[in-house]
Symmetry: D3
Subunit: 135 residues, 6 copies
């Protein structure tokens, strides 16, 4: 990790989520879980011990569920009608991203590529999120 | 948020947490929840409606618990004996930080200053965390 | 409840939800929680005891969260691209319904009317759901 | 699904559960999870992929636990002493039904017949439940 | 606490619960939560601060739910038909005990006496439990 | 179990945990879960059925997580600075005990010896805990 990134990291990540609402939102929460899902898929491929694989699958299931949850929170709680007007692709993007963390995605698959597709979708959402924060 | 920060943000936050372990850790998870706790305390102070305040207290309780959980995970799962040797203050730091998210801290108090103290402790932890990642 | 309805009830409700997927889905799960939310709002209005009201608010928060969760599951896991093509209002419908169970809806309000609006939205979703099951 | 059933379904299912109490109860919640358990057992039998089977077992465990929980709620929160007097078999019925969703039942077995036995027990409970609602 | 009790304590408490089943059960789990419920009721009576009381109510709700859960587990998972034959009062005892931890008991009341009644019921269950372990 | 132990058991175990705080703490909660973990490891070794083993691994994961949680609660919520002064080994003891319930311990291993090591650490913590209660 480059020094610049490291210095900014602790300050750049304080955005999330609850439903008071506290007003703090951040796609980082979904991204972190998706990165975990990818790392699990890589470790699964590298380790044939059945006990390890059973653990990997159950943890991947939990982490994928967290990805879905964090994305749903952004879609329902953060994004408002004007955002959906400005970004008409947003509904489909969230629907596809959450599907990619479900049975047809990282829950049902142990392939690293599936996790990569999920990460790419979250990046797209994240990009839009930060654009809306700027304006 | 400055452009530089925004550009780095989506990329700089993918670090967390489960116990496969996936190897992904990030103090950002605790920090995000603590920022939420602070925002809740501010909204509590600004709104005297009893129904709102009851909600604020219950959500603050949940978010404080998440802070504790994310910090415990770092202390037990990420940090190893050599870290504790190099940073002898680390045990006390985590013990104080988690206490600051509990009954004697942000759970038991609605003061914004208590949340600020918690955030400062997490910053200290975060600084050490990133130092260990660099070496 | 009419006899006919009662007789059919036990047989007509087996539809839901997980992400194996088991293939069992049913808007009834969201509807049941929303009915609970409405009943809580009514009991809240009828009882000024602060301890009762604190309990009512925390349970309403949990039940509203369950409404959101059950709806998100339908939106992501049950509905597929052809459904969204045939029912272009579906994304907005789900987004509005889940918002109605959140901070701007039954979580943030103790009004019975808010719960009624949520129930009406779920009815709309339910109607479409059963149409798609028939075809 | 027959048309009549379908038409009634959305209206006939609003009954459940929390402990305010909201007064809304419905055996449908247990039934839905038990139907899911049965569907999982069927899919397990039809798919020998070890990763799929590991997922099926963990989801079956969760859904069986939900069956137990929903039944316990009915037994403790909905049914009152006069019901137990009128239906002296009720305690045994609930005890057997919850055991059928546990280690000696759908948690410990992947057989479809075990799930069928569980469903039959819930039907019996459901029948009594609706009788008590009518009187 | 007397010395004798203290010395035995760490060794005498290893009994619980899951549904593998591991075979480890212990009424202590329900008792611990019920003792917590009583302590919360006492602290509630002694502290009129509304923020403290809101916290007390929400934590009492959670701990009462845990009492119910631990008792349900004993009733369904530990006790078997021969126990119910030998102790015909067992069903009613568990039904009353779990009701005492619900809306009509420690969830719905802040009275210390209600918590005492709950504790007494759990003592009765505990006595029978240990008798069955001895035989 | 000896008669003396049995007689004392129901009375000697009421110590735990929440964060009101209720003031009720007890290492028994962690011990009970760790005993369960050991029993699971023994049953795993004795049963080669893959479906049973998948269940054993997922339940062992949950129970190990509960061990970690109960220990963290003691470390943060029960123990205070004077305790850490008097028992300078306490931080390391808790850190090692929670690691023994994680990926490098009972989560990642199915060996009975690993569970025994965890139990021994909890005994050490328990001994110190009861000393602090006496003074
Ligand atoms: Ni928030
Ligand atoms: Ni991880
Ligand atoms: Ni399902
Ligand atoms: Ni209810
Ligand atoms: Ni167990
Ligand atoms: Ni407590």
């Amino acid at each position: 990790m480059r020094l610049l990134t490291r210095l900014l990291a602790p300050k750049s990540v304080a955005h999330a989520h609850c439903d008071l609402p506290c007003g703090v939102y951040d796609p980082a929460q979904a991204m972190i879980e998706a990165q975990s899902v990818k790392a699990i898929a890589e470790k699964y491929a590298a380790n044939e011990d059945p006990a390890f694989r059973a653990r990997a699958i159950l943890i991947k299931e939990q982490r994928s569920e967290l990805v879905k949850h964090h994305l749903w929170v952004l879609w329902t709680d953060y994004f408002k009608p004007p955002h959906f007007e400005k970004y008409p692709q947003l509904h489909t993007l969230f629907n596809e991203a959450t599907k990619l963390a479900g049975a047809g995605g990282t829950k049902g698959s142990v392939d690293v590529e599936t996790a990569d597709k999920l990460l790419a979708k979250i990046e797209e959402i994240s990009k839009i999120f930060w654009e809306t924060k700027q304006s």
